[in-house]
């Protein structure tokens, strides 16, 4: 890419490639051959039909998420991140293209997927206590009582909330409420965990703690995580890979490999040179996206 004013010492590794798609030759995220990917998004398109005309939220997105990877989706505000996540989680049907999980087309919310929403206050059941909130999906699955109790205790322990099982969610702080939502997702034992800007509404310090919590849980469970955020620092700090989205109508701007060490630390990692380089690169791309630069223009110029 063109960044004459700053030459990074180590080049950022881009995993995106150019593919022929129904919308012409555009960049796509990293894809894998055959049966390898756990979650695969193919030429996904979403158009909203409104009285004022059609709104194309997502134009064409293609990328794969391998088993056990933690990938961050980052994009300027209004870049269709939530739309994309709703399509992936089966809450919304795409207008074209498809999402597959283990090769199976997603048509409704899949069993092996859990979603953590941004609005923790609205995603927890206010009439159920903390432990009951975590327990409900398990109860729904027909898990027996003793196993449920153990799973709930472990999940609450994992997010550091073992001391408040009997509280109501609304009696807790925002950060703690989001921990409850994470505990509920963890107890559900999903293969894919989708997180839709989960920390956008909590304060900076809580946010740092929660980021480390997500890294910890991801490592412990070996679950695949797709983490949507608008925070560039967060995406680089958390992910093994950052998928940068263009402005709406959305395509993939770039798919960047985050080659930071696996052990991350809020102080060490964030002050490392590589972190700065990656952050710089992602920031630059987002700025380009905001200005309306579209990768397909660059393709056309080549």
């Amino acid at each position: 890419m063109t960044s004459a004013h700053s030459q990074p010492t180590n080049p950022v590794i881009s995993q995106s490639s150019i593919q022929e798609t129904p919308d012409g030759r555009i960049p796509v995220g990293k894809t894998m051959p055959g049966e390898q990917p756990m979650l695969s998004v193919q030429n996904l398109k979403k158009v909203y039909h409104t009285d004022g005309g059609d709104i194309e939220a997502v134009r064409n997105l293609t990328f794969d998420l391998p088993k056990g990877q933690l990938a961050c989706l980052v994009g300027p505000s209004g870049s269709g991140k939530t739309t994309l996540l709703k399509c992936i989680s089966g809450l919304m049907a795409p207008s074209a293209g498809e999402v597959t999980l283990h090769g199976q087309k997603v048509t409704g919310p899949p069993k092996s997927m859990a979603v953590v929403f941004q609005e923790y206050g609205r995603s927890l059941f206010p009439w159920l206590r903390v432990a009951e909130n975590v327990e409900l999906p398990l109860k729904n699955q027909g898990m027996d009582k003793a196993a449920r109790k153990e799973a709930v205790e472990q999940a609450l322990e994992a997010v550091g909330l073992a001391h408040v099982p009997k509280s109501y969610p609304w009696q807790l702080s925002g950060g703690m409420q989001q921990r409850v939502a994470i505990a509920r997702a963890v107890a559900y034992q999903p293969e894919v965990l989708l997180m839709d800007e989960p920390f956008a509404a909590v304060d900076a310090q809580t946010r740092a703690d929660l980021e480390d919590l997500v890294r910890g849980i991801w490592k412990k469970l070996g679950v695949s995580v797709l983490f949507v955020t608008h925070d560039i620092d967060e995406s680089v700090y958390l992910g093994e890979r950052v998928i940068i989205l263009s402005s709406s109508p959305t395509i993939i701007q770039e798919d960047v490999l985050v080659d930071l060490p696996a052990e991350r630390d809020q102080l060490e990692t964030r002050s490392s040179q590589r972190f700065a380089e990656l952050r710089h690169h992602v920031y630059e791309q987002i700025q380009l996206a905001k200005k309306g630069f579209r990768p397909e223009d660059a393709v056309a110029m080549k």
Partner: protein, 257 residues
Amino acid sequence: MTYIRTFLHIVALPLILVLIWFVATLGEASFFVPTPQLLIETFFETWTSERFVSDVFPSLGRLMTGIALSILIGIVGGLLIGSFRWLRALLEPTLEFFRAIPPPVLIPVIMLLIGIGDEMKVSVIVLGAVWPILLNTIEGVRSMDEVLADTSRTYGMTKFNSVRYLILPSAMPQIMAGIRQSLSIALILMVISEMFASTEGLGFAIVQFQRSFAIPEMWSGIVLLGLIGVVLSFIFQLTERWVLGWYHGLREIEQSA
């Protein structure tokens, strides 16, 4: 200390009213307005023993049956109508029509159709008391939080569990508001239904007293109706505090924030 203060708040106005009444009826004795002493005396004479079993008991039974049926029909119907858009589109205009009909005008027709027994009286109560519950339940189901509904869907909640753990509790604040309105409607209709072709019941007894110029007895019946209303509302408040504890807690926190 706070208990004493609460108690004083509750009894202050009734005591003042009784005092005014006492002073106003001191000198001359009006035939139509008994003194407080006479009323209390008559109250116990009239409504204890025999009459309680023959009139109050059947009335209360029909009132409770009517309320229970209204709650059941209102909630089940409301859940169904609120859940299906097509059903709502189909029924809502018709429901508005039936809701607008005052149940007392239907009493003669109902008497012809199902007789003059308890069924008629309970039907009249239900026909009036079901509406606030039904319409509030529909509204409660419709105003479901989208994020919460999405959450339930992503966890693959079964139909039954969705109703039990999501839809019903989330509509409960509105349902309770509907029940509160229905209680007073049910009490009114209980009395009215007993004024037609009856041989027992509170409404019947009060009309009998009126027609036989037993004025203190008539007043004592009216007092009894008021007391039943107070007790109903008290039971309702206790139930509501228990069922909607989470809701009041949540509201308190939202308001203080």
